[in-house]
Subunit: 439 residues, 2 copies
Amino acid sequence: MPDQPLIRRLDTRAADFAADLRRLLAFEAADDASIEQAVQAILADVRTRGDAAVLEYTGRFDRNPAADLAALKIPASEAAAALAALPAEQRDALQAAAARIRAYHEHQRAESWSYTEPDGTLLGQKITPLDRVGLYVPGGKAAYPSSLLMNAIPAKVAGVAEVVMVTPTPDGARNPIVLAAAAVAGVDQIWAIGGAQAVAALAYGTQSIAAVDKIVGPGNAYVAAAKRRVFGTVGIDMIAGPSEILVLCDGTTPPDWVAMDLFSQAEHDELAQSILLCPDAAYLDAVEASIEKLLPTMARADIIRASLSGRGALILVSDMPQACAIANDIAPEHLEISAEEPARWLELIRHAGAIFLGRYTSESLGDYCAGPNHVLPTSRTARFSSPLGVYDFQKRSSLIQVSSAGAQALGPLAATLAYGEGLDAHARSAEFRLADPAA
Amino acid sequence: MPDQPLIRRLDTRAADFAADLRRLLAFEAADDASIEQAVQAILADVRTRGDAAVLEYTGRFDRNPAADLAALKIPASEAAAALAALPAEQRDALQAAAARIRAYHEHQRAESWSYTEPDGTLLGQKITPLDRVGLYVPGGKAAYPSSLLMNAIPAKVAGVAEVVMVTPTPDGARNPIVLAAAAVAGVDQIWAIGGAQAVAALAYGTQSIAAVDKIVGPGNAYVAAAKRRVFGTVGIDMIAGPSEILVLCDGTTPPDWVAMDLFSQAEHDELAQSILLCPDAAYLDAVEASIEKLLPTMARADIIRASLSGRGALILVSDMPQACAIANDIAPEHLEISAEEPARWLELIRHAGAIFLGRYTSESLGDYCAGPNHVLPTSRTARFSSPLGVYDFQKRSSLIQVSSAGAQALGPLAATLAYGEGLDAHARSAEFRLADPAA
């Protein structure tokens, strides 16, 4: 198809580059009114009828009828058996990945702190884990055990007592590798339910399922719409857009490697976005040649081709600092700095979900087993948000213990400001502590 | 009004206590379709027409016509002059409160970290501030300078380069104490615009106002609806429900003090909620007597009366541990532990926005000047969320630098897991790094 390049080329020196880049990045999730309506009805129904509604929808949507919800509870022994039955290589890989993910996330655990002022007033912050977390795990083809590890392990590291997993089992088919991953991650409860009905059960609770405090994990459009709607009743993680990689390359990495890194993003989804920035036009030619050479050998060649031609780009930049400036504007989910001096360019980067440094750090190593989380902010949200982490499963309570002397010092300040805002109960409540009848 | 008690009494030993408590706590923000529609139209219009739309709405809603947006920019010199013109007592109180808020929030600033494994692989997390933050400050009667300090100071402590404030000035009237607080907090830009149009300008940017990365600060129903809708394009803080206080008292605090603490919440709003838990029935009688005695002396007696009779309660508990268990269920925004041994009960508390310990710690001292933030999770969201803090203005990027040796160790793991998920580009990208052509 000579009319349709495999991947578009842009040049930052072109007059219309800024507009072309905006167009390339533009993505707006479609609002689907029929999904919204269906989800609203399911949520209301589960909230009212509990177990009975969950059973009914599970029978209808998953073709998985059950006498009661207990029949949809997957026992821990089944997950343990699934793990034991895995081929040794796969079991070892899951366990080794989990150990590395756990070790990295241990570094994220926040601790309570406090300090005492000279007059005896204590100020601080108490850190506590969430009590119960719901984990949505998609069924069918999009069932990724690695994603289960990335969502469940930070919750357990945070100290969440109960991680409650829901996963649809269409036609009753349970996915053994997903169950094995649940056993490895230490998931506490597993229910064979999915869709908006599972989100509703987790958010509101039913006769059989206790309500959780937060729901995390990826899902289809119904699940995403349901999570958006229950937000406030429970916490939710981010709603992810299409996955993205931005590779900054100084031209020293083998072109095949970079081509495959672009593929590894593109193979997810036709809407996934793979972009390469490089100051060396000849290197871009070499990567394009690698793309042409390697593409026919890929299992998911059609998806990769659609993604690269629809949303991919090879962009010629004037130098690496310009590449870094563009990276900050894009705020990519995944940023590879595939260069001789990655630390030099890292200093210039302000916004990215995860940063992969040096030519040996393929994004895929990070996706599976380096240790950091692969649940990352998409669609430019790395400007203001962070990878999923232990901090998403801990929360803070401010601690204030004003001493008798402290109350004498702070009372007049508070009273002045409170009277200024017309809030006299605030002021008098502080003033009461000025005289000390209990002393 | 003998039929209408000033405040209801509950007893945990009553058969219907659990249901009564649920009813007491029930609050559901009304969805107003007309507000949603109006806001949707304003957002779309500002997104398309920029400055012109903002000017038009500001003329219409705030009765504040202007030739161009530059005329609605409030210069830093005006804020500085407003601060200089304040009565000394008020200026000193603002500055002292700001200094204490800043000192506390300095403790929250997170630092980047990394560690290197024996094979040279580096893992870590890079912390960066947001670039630009929008701060909504209500106009008119709900203009609270303390709230401006609580929102702006954590952003500046985080290192946000530009804090852009918007505040409506109905009929062109600018509030000098709000401008003074902006000067104290170090706000970088001030625009005399408000409502959904201001939220749109901050989220999308216009010819005159650069888009921000996150919008924080309280506002009316239009502002809340607008923030909800732009979420994703920018970050937002929480959308607050009615304010709440829960006081746990062992019966040793002067009853007048506790009565006034309950008032200090109730005076905000008829929907505000003030609840006292105590194991001593005689003490509850004493607090009720204090309420009756003090209420007529309050400037906002009508609001307090409506709030206490509509949503307040004095609850007799069997003991303090039971009080703590109820507190965890309520997960209150403000929790006072007004007791001889507050540390003993603190150990039992898992969920609360801010915890005020000991009889000298009135909530109002915390609201204004103790140091911790007064923007807190409401409506049971303290189960999964935290006070506004420096962490809301910083974000994290994962760092992964796999060494040549590390790639040999991790590559087979990643490849096994990737092939298991049917993602062969992921696998091959890791496998490419197994042989090292550059070595």
